[in-house]
Amino acid sequence: MYRDRLNFEFTYYNSFTTDALLNVSVPPSTGFSGNRLENLGEISNSGFEILATFIPLDTRNLQFINTLSFSTNKNELVSFGDGRDSQIFGIYAPVQRYEEGKPLGAFWSRRAVVDANDNLVLEDPEYRGPSLPTREIRYSAEFNFLENWRLFALLDYAGGHYQFNVKDWRRDRAGLSWEVVNPDADPNEVRSRMNATQTYYSVQQADFIKLRDLSLSYRLPGRWVNQVGVSNATLSLTGHNLAVLWTKYGGQDPEVNFHGDADFSRVDSWTAPPMRRISASINVNF
């Protein structure tokens, strides 16, 4: 559209998977223990993806390219296929489940509340939300200016999902977190947070916006490099995983996972976040 200044792509998907491989427990009463992958579930995934490119400026000395993508995913375990009950798992607390009608590996949590008799009562587990993002937005801006310069930035947003913040869960319980030692804190909330079995405060929304990439490049003029047999050369300074600009999550980084992704288990337990990386490079073509 508008001489290629504005482009749109739209994709809708609705897929249904049978015999999905799910990681389920072996009954220890057989004498064996651990987990095994079984062809069990019927799973649906639906959503859409939009990609838009907009070039508001395109002159000899300045080009400004905007790219925005937005995608959604609704994941659901439709059926186990064999009538089994929910599969509850979690290496620190039973906060995740495979449950029919809910996303795979979704989060549940339990709240401890102080009742009228001043007793701390543990409520039944309640559904919180999925463990994987249900919506993602990526926005990149590219400036090409003064013929040889390029500035590029990439912002990432992911949201709609939850993370189990084990570090804060344990700091609460040990009486170390600010939420517990704050003299103005609600004493009932402090009692609740320090309860060993509650997970309500630690299963947290994990929405975030990150400055994923920022780079500045300069392409050396041809007249300089051609003299030494080089067709072109570019100097770049690049930063990756530069900052969490905004997050609902209480931990260091909402993207970490102590336990790997193989079985949808998501745990933040003093896990090192993705490294911030800053690099300088020279790209030479002959």
């Binding site: 220890p28 004498g31 599969q87 509850i88 979690g90």
Partner: protein
Amino acid sequence: MRMNKKITQIKPSKMMTKRTPFMAVLFFMIVALSCDSLLEVENPGAIEEQELSNPNLETLIINGVIGEFQYTYSYSALYTGAFSDELQGRHTFVQNHPLFLRTIDQSNVYVNNVYSFWQRSRASADDAIDRLVELKGNEEAEASLNMVIARAYAGYSYIMLGETFCAAPVSVSRAYSSDELMEFAVERFTDAIAAAGRATAAGADAAEVERYRNLAQVGLARAHLNLGNMTEAATAASAVPADFTFMNRHSDNSARQYNPYFDATTGANNRYITPGVDFTNTGDVRIPHTEERVTSLVSGIMLYIPYQPSQFSGWTPADSVEFERNTSVVLASGLEARYIEAEANGAVASTLTFVNERRDVGGQLPGVFAGDALMEELRVQRSRDFFMSGRRLGDIRRYKALYGEDYFLTGTDPYYNEPYGTVECFPIPQSEINSNPNL
């Protein structure tokens, strides 16, 4: 003509050269698709299923039964002791917290471990019983020492499941109550004792058969006592010689063979268990501990640390001996048989005599007890004689179920400064709930 002929000869050759990689790939794919074994992986260290029916591996199978049991018994003793009033303490690991405070649920890692290990021990022993019949035929198997061993260890595995767990399934069954699990144990021990008689008649090593028969006799008495079958318990116990001792062995050979009390009681910044309040500063030589509180795993928490109590291999009444990795523990004994007889017989003269004998061992003067006070003193003496040896949780559950005597700790735990919960037995873990359709 000659030229043309030459070209015709060359052309196919060039075509073949071009097609060779394609043909090779095609050939490889055909071979791969027609050959299932391409993805098979050999593990030279594994004993395959069919090998378990190899008569030459009979000893290995039985040693496997013993190995599973020995490892599990002491692991279970540590964590059930921490759950009962026997041990207190504090640990940095989150999963120890509900164990010490009796607030464990189905998600606790120790509940899962103790359960899985006991189920594996039970299944190994039950499986060995079937395999012995398969290997030797019913008649020979039923008259063999190994059958006595397998049944005795199976019986003890059921006892430990029943004493530890509120209920437990067997091979993906419904959940059996503790009493039903004790009945299974009675069955295994009764069969073991019968097999011992046949094994002796068949010429098996008489001393070894007798050792395992006595192990089964004590087990049978213990299971009957838990069921409240006092006559049967006393009868089974009376058949055990007073000097009988059967050890659960540990060694330095591998981590799996270490006594887990070593790590829990040694190292200035590692030890984390302390004798429960009723087992501290008693002056009783059977339950020694450090003279002063010492540093522990958790900064600022000072604890009395237990030395080897009287049921452990390094214990002497004169010296305090720290736990070693190879410290073994008594699994069954004539002493335990006498305790079972005394509890089953009740507050009679022989029980008072026995209680005063045990007080003497502990460095206490004889007492004059009668009725409930005598039975209470019997329970105190038993708790000291078998301190940390894997019996306490079963004992205090039995005292509450049969006599209404409650020894579970209440109030506030001094090391966590939090109130005790109300859980009195280990629940079935989540891993079984997830996967057993009969629960």
